[in-house]
């Protein structure tokens, strides 16, 4: 007897949830991708990853949740940024709407295992293509080429590039590619590592460290936030081609993503995605050449 009112409450709660979901859907659908409706069912070869994903109507994508301009989660729990736009574009070509994408946070250390275990279908997470990683996963792209650079205090004239770093304290993230590069190629530098790049900023303001190093696009985000405190010095001294990670050996899927990327370079949707995100603080670059290894 006592169950009835509870059921009513549950039912009305479910209704409210459904309503809420509807309203947020219509809001999200307008902004992102746009291709979802128009990508309606190109024919995919039976048994291919594309056919499977497009049939199930959803995709799990790994991205960064803490990278301004590329993949940053806001208060609503949905990541935004250039990586997210690129991923949405690819999902759209599979006929998957933005709201059917399941975003999974991948950090630098877990991208390979997540792909290998099939916990994510693709990874779009400022993921530098390199030969070590190619042994365990495959990469489509690149869809952007970044490079490692240096962030210093606005009034610091002593550092103009990586060769001025001997004896200086340089901050980066524990286990990241830029930290590895400094340790390997500039051994006279004192490397200081934190869990996140944002942790390096206050010590730089306080003078406890001399420079912060990571990809130029990330540093540009920090300069945009506090132009009076920081500046980026010198030209990028590495090439970091960002690729889309996927299961090793799925060449069909890789070729298809490469085709999709080239299409987006040609039809302007790549440029539109850039200008809506990272392009707000950075100049719009030329799309890189896709590497079909």
């Amino acid at each position: 007897m006592g169950i009835r009112p509870t059921r009513m409450v549950a039912l009305s709660a479910a209704c409210m949830l459904a309503l809420a979901a509807c309203s947020s859907d219509s809001g999200g659908g307008e902004t992102a991708g746009g291709d979802a409706s128009e990508g309606a069912m190109t024919e995919f070869a039976a048994g291919s990853t594309m056919a499977t994903l497009s049939e199930q109507g959803s995709i799990t994508i790994g991205t960064k949740f803490d990278q301004p301009l590329f993949g940053l989660v806001g208060p609503d729990g949905v990541p935004v940024g250039f990586d997210v736009e690129i991923a949405t574009l690819i999902a759209g070509k599979l006929g998957i709407a933005p709201e059917d994408i399941e975003w999974t946070e991948t950090v630098s250390g877990n991208r390979e295992p997540f792909i290998q275990d099939g916990r994510v279908d693709i990874v779009v997470a400022t993921y530098t293509i390199n030969d070590d990683r190619k042994q365990v996963v495959d990469f489509a792209g690149p869809y952007y080429e970044a490079g490692q650079s240096l962030l210093v205090a606005k009034d610091d004239e002593s550092i103009g590039g990586p060769d001025d770093l001997a004896g200086k304290k340089v901050c980066s993230v524990d286990g990241s590619t830029p930290a590895g590069n400094i340790a390997e190629n500039y051994p006279d530098t004192e490397l200081v590592t934190f869990a996140a790049y944002t942790d390096c900023l206050d010590p730089l303001r306080n003078g406890q460290i001399d420079a912060v190093t990571t990809d130029n696009v990330i540093l540009a985000g920090y300069v945009a936030e506090s132009p009076d405190d920081f500046k980026v010095v010198g030209d990028p001294f590495t090439a970091e081609p960002y690729g889309i990670g996927l299961m090793k050996g799925d060449d069909e899927f890789r070729t298809w993503i490469n085709d999709t990327l080239e299409e987006s370079f040609a039809d302007g949707s790549w440029t539109a995605a850039w200008e809506a995100t990272a392009g707000t603080v950075l100049p719009t670059p030329e799309p890189p050449a896709v590497d079909r290894y």
Partner: protein, 216 residues
């Protein structure tokens, strides 16, 4: 697997740092914790209050926040330490000494009240009563919990990896980056080095316990 052996120099450097943090903060926490325990049972109300506040704050704050306080908040208030091991040792010591204090205090409470009364009766003051009569008995009875606290400390040093200290865990993350095909092996290697500290510590606890045991 070979890549684990190949990275032995990196592992050893990380291991040395973890060991340094453990030993340094371990010794300091034992001293500070015992001192705090002495304050908490002292006849002076002000000493008791100060010690209680320090212990409750240290014991009830997550270690990561203690680190954030010493690495980010104090510098923002103008108190700037060099980054790296110094704030890490301070944070670990503040945190661990709270647990040491409570273990030692429970030992002090386990010593019969008659012992302190007898010490008073032969004319010892409160400092001497504690130092000569009560503490020697109390410390013997709290060896097992103290070793547990120190084992926890050895593992807690991994929090420092997020705060400008390159110890075992940070080394492991760097190695996982350099050998993407062997991430699992690299992390198992890190775990093995932690065991190298904690398992002997447990064995030592048993040995010390047998040495100092006494019957009441």
């Amino acid at each position: 697997m070979e890549s684990v052996l190949e990275s032995m120099p990196e592992y050893l450097a990380g291991f040395r740092m973890t060991l340094y943090l453990t030993v340094m903060s371990g010794v300091l926490s034992l001293l500070l914790g015992t001192f705090l325990a002495a304050c908490r049972v002292s006849p002076l109300k002000s000493l008791r209050t100060v010690a209680t506040v320090i212990v409750e704050v240290g014991r009830n704050t997550p270690l990561t926040l203690v680190f954030v306080f010493f690495v980010f908040i104090l510098p923002a208030l103008g108190i700037i330490f060099p980054l790296g091991t110094i704030p890490a040792v301070i944070a670990l010591t503040v945190y661990t000494s709270a647990f040491v204090c409570e273990a030692v205090r429970s030992g002090i409470n386990s010593v019969g009240i008659g012992q302190a009364e007898a010490a008073r009766a032969i004319g010892l003051g409160s400092v001497n009563t504690l130092w000569l009569i009560v503490l020697p008995q109390a410390l013997r009875s709290v060896v097992p919990p103290l070793i547990s606290v120190l084992i926890a400390l050895a593992k807690n040093t991994s929090v420092a990896s997020g705060f400008a200290v390159i110890e075992l865990t940070a080394t492991g993350r760097g190695l996982a980056r350099d050998y993407p095909a062997d991430v699992i092996w690299m992390l198992l290697g890190v775990a093995a080095f932690y065991l190298l500290i904690t398992v002997p510590a447990g064995a030592m606890a048993g040995w010390v316990e047998r040495k100092v045991v006494f019957s009441r």
